[in-house]
């Protein structure tokens, strides 16, 4: 089992451009997606996995407060109360459509699948380490499986982990019964 794990402080640049072929997509990325893209790139460096390779990804916290801050900034110049018509006239024009992409929790899974050509068995979830590992173990394949997890903390810190595993390697793993965030698995195993 090979494990890659990275953590980036809130002010730290994430070197995502070194790990993506379609650079124009980066504007849709949260910091979690960027960190995950780096880890997936490191794991699969100079390799082209089979398209049918199963890929399971588990996310954690969320960056969508950007949308609410964008929407509410339109009301800051005076003391207007929130109204539906006010929302449509003033807030809507300042909400970036990109923020909606960032709020969708399957986007990291999708962007990494596109970058690396994963078309096989999959799931995108917010779940425990147990859920992620069970998804992988129960995948209907005997081949190698890619698992990943990421977490975006409220302060902007982003962490991610990726691993290439087989069902037999996961059998009996203590994280199969763990309700901790899925990223916990990678925090532990990248040091082993």
């Amino acid at each position: 089992m090979r494990v890659i794990y990275r953590i980036y402080e809130s002010s730290e640049q994430i070197p995502v451009y070194d790990y993506i072929s379609r650079r124009k997509l980066v504007k849709y990325f949260t910091r979690e997606t960027m960190a995950a893209m780096v880890c997936a790139g490191e794991l699969l460096k100079e390799r082209k996995p089979l398209p049918e390779t199963p890929f399971f990804y588990s996310s954690s916290e969320l960056e969508m407060m950007e949308i609410y801050n964008e929407a509410c900034s339109a009301f800051d110049s005076d003391s207007h109360n929130f109204t539906s018509s006010g929302f449509m006239e003033r807030a809507l024009p300042v909400i970036s459509p990109l923020s909606h992409f960032k709020s969708m929790r399957n986007m990291t899974h999708c962007f990494i699948s596109i970058e690396h050509g994963f078309k096989g068995d999959n799931a995108s979830l917010i779940g425990s380490a147990s859920g992620l590992l069970l998804c992988a173990m129960l995948s209907t394949t005997a081949r190698n499986i890619i698992i990943g997890a990421g977490k975006l903390h409220a302060d902007g810190t982003a962490e991610a982990g990726f691993a290439e595993v087989t069902s037999s390697e996961l059998a009996g793993n203590k994280f199969l019964e763990s309700n901790e965030d899925a990223i916990s698995f990678f925090r532990v195993y990248h040091n082993i």
Partner: protein, 403 residues
């Protein structure tokens, strides 16, 4: 041993009980109208399928996250109906549900600028829906794990498919599984409109037209639904609603916003699910498709069916529930399993509401106007997400004489 569905808790545009939903499906009542739960002054589009009881929209205070609120109600109903927590220990029950984008009451957020956890929450997530879902699991004694599947429109079918695998493999004795979502609020409704997926039709009940030549987008719906999935050996046989016999998920890896027009990965998911069920495509009787009403969806689904069923792609009866209730996003697959149960129990394929004109680019056998009575032993249910995830589930009619 068979993996079976033995109970339902539901709060949806069709109604708030299994029986009410069955009656609404049978009647073909249109459950989409202009939004009632919040003020939409200034909105250009107002169509949505909101949760209804006896035909009337259930309204909630703006502080309420409707997807968590209705999910909690569904779980309580399911527990009462199935007595799951009396028959299984807490650690034997896993809670797998499809979810959606988080909800923040923008009115209150504007005034306070505070993003607070749910009242009384002892959990540490900043994703409110996750915290609320975990609390529902704890409160109801489901301690075999909590997983929220987030593959957008395929989320709840991934939840159900994974639950099927967990129970079939013996990792868990039972799964409470389904989905819950509501994007019918300021930010998420408008966000969906900004993504360009929404119908521009202003006649709300007729706005979503799956497979129809005139289709121009989908309509949002909302709702929660959970099922109990267990081994037939533990089930109360008279309460078995249907059998799940196959599941698969694949990824387009094509584009974030559009399906692969050739439907290759969807076809692969269907083939894998059929293989998982140990059957061949010839004995699949009908297909309940994703059928969103968006221009690109129907041709992609037709292409996928052609790859699997060949010439039969134009004759096998197909159906979509979204014309009647809208698109429930994170809970659509779970909700549409209810349509599959209806078909298996009543031995009919329902007409797709608002389908009138066939599209030459997707010449599917869409049932219109009247239900089609036919023998249905195996039914295929598919879903495809914004992002590219595809799911296929094979359901089988459960006969009490089966075993």
């Amino acid at each position: 041993m068979a993996i079976v569905i033995t109970g339902v808790g539901v709060k949806s545009p069709l109604g708030c009980s299994f029986e009410e939903c069955m009656k609404t499906l049978e009647a073909g009542t249109r459950c989409v109208s202009e939004i009632e739960n919040f003020d939409t002054t200034g909105f250009t589009q107002k169509a949505a399928g909101e949760v209804r009881l006896n035909g009337r929209v259930i309204k909630t205070p703006k502080e309420i996250d409707r997807k968590a609120y209705f999910l909690n109600k569904c779980v309580q109903d399911l527990k009462e109906r199935t007595r799951a927590t009396e028959r299984f220990s807490p650690a034997e029950i896993v809670f797998n549900t499809g979810g959606g984008v988080d909800y923040v009451d923008i009115d209150t957020y504007y005034r306070t600028r505070q993003f607070t956890l749910p009242a009384g929450s002892k959990l540490s997530s900043h994703y409110k829906s996750k915290a609320l879902t975990e609390e529902i699991a704890l409160k109801n004694g489901f301690l075999g794990g909590v997983n929220i599947f987030m593959a957008s429109c395929a989320a709840s079918s991934q939840a159900i498919g994974t639950s099927f695998r967990m129970v079939r493999s013996g990792f868990r004795k039972a799964a409470v599984t389904g989905g819950s979502d509501s994007m019918i609020n300021y930010i998420n409704y408008i966000g969906f409109q900004q993504l360009g997926a929404m119908s521009s039709c202003t006649n709300a009940p007729y706005a979503c037209k799956p497979f129809d030549r005139r289709r121009d987008g989908t309509v949002l719906g909302e709702g929660s639904i959970v099922y109990l999935i267990e081994d037939s050996n533990t089930a109360i046989r008279e309460e078995i609603l249907a059998e799940i016999v196959g599941y698969a998920s694949t990824m387009d890896a094509y584009a974030v916003t559009d399906p692969d027009p050739e439907g290759r990965s969807l076809a692969e998911a269907i083939s894998m699910a059929i293989n998982d069920a140990g059957i061949n495509p010839d004995i699949v009787d009908c297909v309940h498709l994703h059928g969103t009403g968006t221009p690109k969806n129907a041709p992609a689904e037709y292409s996928a069916l052609k790859l699997v069923f060949g010439e039969r792609a134009g004759t096998i009866p197909v159906y979509s529930m979204k014309g009647q209730i809208g698109h429930l996003i994170g809970s659509c697959g779970a909700m549409e399993i209810l349509g599959a149960i209806y078909s298996l129990q009543k031995q009919v394929v329902l007409p797709t509401i608002n389908f009138e004109e066939q599209d030459p680019s997707a010449p599917l056998n869409v049932i219109r106007n009247y239900p089609l009575n036919m023998k249905i032993e195996y039914l295929l249910k598919t879903n495809s997400s914004f992002g590219g995830e595809n799911t296929a589930i094979i359901l089988k009619r459960y006969n009490l004489g089966n075993g």
